[in-house]
């Protein structure tokens, strides 16, 4: 199979997954026993309120028509009206997505630096004390609850040492970078914990391959072999995992935003759940799933360009 066929198949799969995502979200509130209107409003709602909501959400129309309204609405950027803010959900969600995305991108950048530094350090000292130390350190990072770690960072670097602000995200770009450092670090450490394990293993594996032995035998310097020969190949699988972890990164960002009082999607999601603002919850779930799908597509495609040997199955 050639690259073109692969890309076409990948896009068809993506279309299918998008369809599936809308079905899951659409079905979620309707599949449960009981009246969705009362599920949203709570049991104590009056019949009149419930009837209004049913009308507003189109719950009193035939099933297929409801689904069509839901999907075509999303395609046009019309995601309904927020029950709490009484404004279009699209505006509400889309103004907050950039903050969450910036946080995720920042965290990915930090994670890349941390992973490369410690992954290489662990691999070239395999079995030695730096390797053990890194292994234990990131085992802790993997199991540390991110919301708790974020609070500890606030306590230490914000409230006690006053090095970093404890909430908000600033106005200018340097301010953004400064304000978002602690939240991004919180996310990055956990992400790196997963990536370092993989990178370390891949480097060690690649070091044993024939072409690395050849490169060494040619008398190339160790650092050149590491950078040009080993790392290039070892990174391929780490990049894939990076893509797979994006969903967890977005989920983590939701929590970390709450901790650092960042006005992103996460804060909105938590507010909306407390206020039972279901249209907003629904929209955020769809938008986050679409983000994950797109990022994974980009990773898969870039993979096929990064590694010319890739066979498409």
């Amino acid at each position: 199979m050639g690259r073109a066929t692969y890309i076409r198949r990948r896009l068809i799969l993506m279309a299918f997954v998008l369809f599936g995502v809308t079905v899951v979200i659409f079905g979620m509130i309707r599949i449960l026993p009981g009246d969705p209107a009362f599920l949203i409003l709570g049991d104590r709602a009056t019949d009149q309120k419930a009837a209004e909501l049913r009308e507003q959400l189109g719950l009193n129309r035939p099933f297929l028509e409801q689904y069509w309204m839901f999907v075509s609405g999303f395609a046009h950027g019309d995601m309904g009206r927020s029950l709490l803010y009484r404004q279009p959900v699209g505006d509400l969600v889309l103004t907050r997505v950039p903050i969450t995305l910036a946080l995720a991108a920042y965290a990915m950048g930090l994670a890349a630096i941390i992973t490369l530094t410690f992954g290489i350090l662990a691999a070239i000292n395999k079995g030695g004390w730096p390797d053990q130390l890194i292994r234990i350190g990131f085992l802790f990072a993997l199991t540390t609850p991110n919301f708790w770690f974020g609070i500890l960072l606030i306590l230490l670097f914000g409230l006690t040492l006053h090095w970093f602000p404890v909430a908000g995200f600033g106005e200018t770009l340097p301010q953004h970078i400064w304000y978002l450092f602690l939240p991004a670090l919180t996310l990055a450490l956990q992400l790196s914990a997963v990536l370092i394990r993989n990178l370390r293993g891949q480097i060690i594996l690649t070091m044993r391959s024939d072409y690395v032995r050849t490169a060494n035998a040619k008398g190339l310097s160790a650092s050149l072999v590491l950078l040009r020969h080993v790392l290039r190949n070892a990174l391929l699988s780490t990049v894939t995992i990076f893509g797979l972890q994006f969903g967890f990164l977005v989920g983590g960002a939701i929590v970390v935003e709450t901790v650092f009082a960042l006005p992103g999607t996460g804060q909105l999601l938590i507010q909306s759940i407390t206020a039972r603002d279901y249209p907003v919850v629904q929209a955020i779930t769809v938008v986050s799933a679409v983000l994950v799908i797109v990022v994974n597509l980009i990773v898969d495609l870039s993979y096929s360009f990064l590694d010319p040997r890739v066979t498409y199955e």
Binding site: G247, V250, A289
Partner: protein, 291 residues
């Protein structure tokens, strides 16, 4: 965060790097042993919580509020309601271990059976399962769980349902992969030749041979479930107050961060200990299989 993708790769890497020798198989890994000891201690605390703690975890004594750790009578201090932190942490151990066990038990059984069935039978069933997996994997785990909880409402039972709705996927993927590698092996062909039914082959012949990696993943799954439970409870979607739960305790302590750092710090440490214990066991078992 989970390492859904990392685990199988890490395993393959270990298997290729480390030569198989008999002595390594028998020797107990320090990783596994330290994990088991740590988890043993946690389980003892959970079982013996009423004996180990002098106070009722939800009893309020306003005259004793905000006592720092190592105060007389309150080894880990007290919270804003004067409740003993050690008692709350110890009783919460029961709840969090229960969350870890129950949110993994049903997904493990369902996922493994699905994985074996689709891997062995193949065809349409397999395609359908893989597409369902593709769709569910598109959602960020935590956001989907939060969305489900938002419909079902907060609480422990709904937490199990929400986590379980997506939690079965890793087990299905692991056992499916193992089954695909097993289904053409001679002992399976032999069983088929002597006329065993598909159900018998899957349950009696394939399952015992493919279940180990899924069982190892159970420990990662428990860490993930406990962290998810604590996160939801931190966000106010878990067990409701005054029930002691580590995530909720961390949330309660947030308002008093400078006044009483121990209110947030100590429950987090408890979470960390349980997470590390389970991860060490999982890693140790994976090493044992790989070595």
């Amino acid at each position: 965060m989970s390492d859904l993708g990392a685990r199988p790769l890490a395993k393959a890497t270990l298997a290729q790097v480390t030569p198989v020798t008999r002595s390594r198989m028998i020797r107990l890994q320090p990783t596994l042993v330290s994990g088991l000891i740590l988890l043993g201690l946690v389980v003892v605390v959970a079982i013996a919580a009423p004996l180990l703690t002098p106070y009722d975890p939800i009893e309020q004594r306003f005259t004793e509020a905000f006592l720092p750790p190592l105060s007389p009578g309150h080894i880990l201090g007290t919270d804003n309601f004067g409740r003993d932190i050690w008692s709350r942490i110890a009783f919460s151990t029961r709840l969090d271990l229960q969350i870890g066990l129950l949110s993994v038990l049903f997904p493990f059984i369902f996922g493994s059976l699905m994985g074996i069935a689709t891997g062995y039978l193949g065809g349409k069933l397999d395609t359908i399962l893989m597409r369902i997996v593709d769709v569910l994997m598109a959602f960020p785990f935590l956001i989907l769980v939060i969305a489900i909880m938002s419909i079902l409402g907060p609480g422990l039972t709904n937490l199990y349902i929400a986590v379980g709705a997506v939690g079965w996927i890793p087990y299905a993927r692991i056992t499916r992969g193992e089954t695909l590698a097993t289904r053409h092996l001679e002992y399976v062909l032999a069983a088929r030749t002597i006329g065993c039914s598909s159900g018998r082959i899957m349950l009696r012949h394939i399952l015992p041979n493919v279940i180990a990696p899924a069982l190892i993943y159970v420990f990662t799954g428990m860490v993930l479930a406990i962290l998810t439970g604590a996160t939801l409870s931190f966000l106010g979607l878990g067990p409701q107050p005054p029930t002691p739960e580590w995530g909720a305790m961390i949330a309660e302590g947030r308002q008093f961060l400078l006044l009483a750092w121990w209110m947030t710090t100590l429950p987090g440490l408890a979470l960390l200990v349980v997470g590390v214990a389970l991860s060490l066991i999982g890693d140790g078992l994976a090493e044992r299989r790989g070595a």
